[in-house]
């Protein structure tokens, strides 16, 4: 059946290799070890330069002082953007491991590599701790009834702890998953073996080690998910909702987590496309992978609409004055153009374009839609964090409403430096470690050789996949 052969490029090649024609690992190792070309070095230098610009931007922003919160709008937006795109990407690997889809194997390592962006996120996060007002500032807290009875900087402390735990979990997950690959590279290469033997840390591939790997990865994967939700819960509540008086939205932490997963899938799609087109991995990344990511993006964008409508329905219907104000601030007031563009890029464009087979089941379709999702994600972050940090939190006693609604802050030079730095620094880290971490997982694809095979089935040939557990 022609359909099977054309779309399942990956498995066909696997079979060829399993018949001894071209060993999987050798080809992958060759691609991994080849000297990086000019384009790669160019991007490395550009991202390095922009990261330095970003750090300079951070320093300039800190020098401008912490008193004027509205000056930090774009800064906080950029930092949250890191956490809702780059740090959402590893979720793909965790979730598809649980769901046991085999199409994930070529791209799961790419999603795990995004774990390194946590370091960039942490760097950008630290100055925000001085921007956020303490509990003595009349600002509400989520945790205790009596703000006077807890340390004034509690939210800062626990968010930092959660964030450090999150980044450490992410880095550990990346290392654990890549460890067998480091061992393969250690064994197969000479010259670089000092680095790889250090990274492999005594991996020999015994049954015990494999079993331990599986257990640790599953437990840490669960922890990664829980910590992602926890960190985004703090970012949604203490760093956002507490700054907009009268905004009580119990769904928003979940919405933010969902937006992070959407951003993660989007940025992963772009990374997969780049690896397919220019990375030299055409033999390994096939239509299946981009099609699967397209389907995920479609479903997730539909869910975006559902979370948005769930919040909006409750806040809009009752016409309570404080809720009307919040909706004015975030959606219908001065931020209306930003909201319209957000809705367009993050929901309308993905949903309507990905219903078309020609876009969803193609190589170019999902990445282009993913760019739209990332733009929409940034605008969504700005809509929330920009308005929250530029809001004058005084309430008019007579009307119980906001004294004034803030205008949209125009970014200045420092803001642009920070934004470019925030987008580039994670990319820079990823490009650096991609020299050492194989971008496609060697051991997972080798594992698939054991599970999948083509069998004759009555008059046709079908793919048979083993289900060991």
């Amino acid at each position: 059946m022609k359909k099977i052969k054309n779309n399942l490029i990956f498995t066909e090649r696997v079979i060829e290799r399993s018949l001894g024609k071209v060993p999987v690992n050798k080809e992958l190792i060759n691609i991994h070890n080849r000297k990086r070309g000019n384009t790669f070095n160019l991007f490395l230098y550009i991202t390095a330069f922009l990261s330095v610009i970003g750090v300079v931007g951070i320093i300039l922003r800190i020098m401008n002082g912490f008193d004027d919160m509205s000056a930090w709008s774009y800064y906080v937006t950029a930092c949250m953007f890191i956490f809702t795109t780059f740090m959402g990407a590893p979720m793909f690997s965790m979730a598809t491991k649980v769901a046991r889809g085999n199409w994930r194997r070529p791209i799961s390592r790419m999603s795990e590599i995004f774990c390194i962006s946590g370091i960039a996120g942490l760097i950008f996060f630290i100055p925000i701790l001085w921007v956020l007002p303490s509990l003595e500032d009349g600002r509400k807290t989520l945790w205790f009834f009596d703000p006077g009875k807890v340390p004034a900087y509690s939210p800062h402390i626990w968010t930092t702890l959660a964030l450090i735990g999150f980044v450490l979990t992410a880095l550990t997950l990346l290392w654990l998953n890549a460890r067998p690959d480091f061992a393969i590279l250690r064994d197969k290469s000479k010259g670089k073996s000092k680095i790889y033997s250090f990274l492999a840390h005594g991996w020999v591939g015994s049954t015990h080690q494999w079993g331990a790997l599986r257990d640790r990865v599953s437990v840490l994967g669960i922890f990664y998910f829980m910590l992602l939700l926890t960190v985004l819960y703090f970012f949604a509540s203490d760093f956002l909702m507490a700054l907009i008086p009268g905004w009580v939205d119990s769904l928003y932490p979940v919405t933010l987590s969902h937006n992070a997963i959407q951003g993660g899938v989007a940025i992963l799609t772009i990374a997969v496309f780049i690896m397919w087109k220019w990375g030299g991995y055409q033999n390994f990344i096939g239509l299946d992978q981009l099609w699967g990511l397209g389907k995920l993006l479609f479903g997730i964008s539909l869910l975006w609409f559902w979370f948005f409508i769930s919040s909006l329905m409750v806040l809009w219907y009752g016409k309570k004055p404080n809720e009307r104000d919040v909706l004015q601030l975030l959606m219908f007031g001065k931020y209306l153009p930003i909201f319209i563009f957000t809705f367009f890029f993050v929901c309308i464009v993905p949903f309507f374009s990905l219903t078309l087979d020609s876009i969803r089941k193609s190589y170019y379709g999902p990445p282009i839609i993913a760019i739209s999702v990332l733009i929409g994600n940034f605008l969504d972050r700005f809509r929330h964090y920009g308005s929250a940090y530029s809001l004058d939190r005084t309430i008019d006693d007579a009307t119980h409403r906001f004294a004034s609604l803030p205008d949209i802050v125009i970014p200045n030079m420092v803001d642009l430096m920070v934004i470019f730095g925030a987008v580039s620094m994670p990319l820079f880290f990823i490009l650096i470690i991609s020299k050492y971490v194989p971008v496609i997982s060697l051991w997972e694809n080798r594992e698939y050789l054991l599970y999948g095979s083509h069998e004759k089935y009555y008059k046709t040939e079908v793919l048979v996949e083993g289900k060991p557990y």
Binding site: Y317, G318, K319, P321
Partner: protein, 244 residues
């Protein structure tokens, strides 16, 4: 002539909790007789009720009375939730209940912050002797129907129709147009009138007491329901005698 907008003022300084308004409302609007079992079952129907709160401890106990009736909110939360449009807002600012349309889902009662909506759990029964006392201008509700204070809309309608037919102007504060509770209040704690008429008593009270340092306030303002009943705070003289 401008469309009327009916409103009420409740002066808590004058209310002594006698509940004459409750009785008057019951007679005027054919409200079912409330038996002891209704009180036990917590199903009493009182379109206007006088709530009594105790303040302080013995021997300095004070009772505070507050009569609460339907606030006829401009942004009534009970109106959007009725599936059959039994609760709607008419053009004179009244929140109107259409008895023969109501199917008794009781959603409106849940959504009312002031809890002024009542449900007929049982079929109302009047002894033969009291059947002649029923008001022919007001529907007798069967079981399964929601009801609430209407600002005696039947009296408003009748008076306006009489005025139009006989060619006289309705006076502000006229007993024919006032709801039964307003007429029965012996201390004139309840004041009713047309808020669109700047000369009416209620408009003058609103202008005076509705300001920031006046005695006027609305119940549960943070819900944003824009009620049309203005409460005037009780003047508390005891503060002058406190030693600390």
């Amino acid at each position: 002539m401008k469309q009327s907008k009916w409103g009420m003022v409740v002066d808590l300084d004058k209310c002594n909790g006698c509940q004459a308004c409750v009785v008057a409302c019951q007679s005027e609007n054919n409200i079912p007789l409330q038996k002891k079992s209704d009180y036990d079952e917590n199903r009493v129907i009182q379109w206007i009720r006088v709530e009594r709160y105790w303040e302080g401890s013995f021997p300095d106990v004070k009772a505070k009375f507050i009569p609460i009736m339907c606030q006829h909110c401009d942004e009534a939360p009970c109106e959007p939730v009725c599936p059959v449009f039994a609760s709607y807002h008419n053009n004179e600012g009244l929140n109107v209940q259409v008895y023969n349309r109501c199917i008794g889902t009781r959603f409106c009662a849940n959504n009312c912050p002031y809890q002024v909506r009542f449900f007929n759990f049982w079929e109302a029964e009047w002894p033969d002797s009291l059947k002649n006392q029923l008001n022919p201008d007001v529907t007798v509700r069967s079981r399964g129907i929601m009801e609430k204070c209407t600002f005696c809309v039947q009296k408003i309608r009748r008076t306006k129709r009489d005025a139009k037919v006989n060619g006289f102007e309705v006076e502000d504060g006229a007993r024919e147009i006032n709801p039964a509770c307003v007429n029965s209040c012996n201390t004139e704690a309840l004041i009713f009138g047309d808020m669109n008429n700047p000369e009416s008593k209620i408009s003058r009270i609103k202008a005076k007491e509705g300001k920031k340092d006046g005695r006027g306030y609305h119940l549960m303002e943070h819900y944003g329901t824009s009620p049309n009943v203005l409460y005037l705070k009780k003047i508390d003289n005891s503060k002058k005698t406190k030693s600390h």
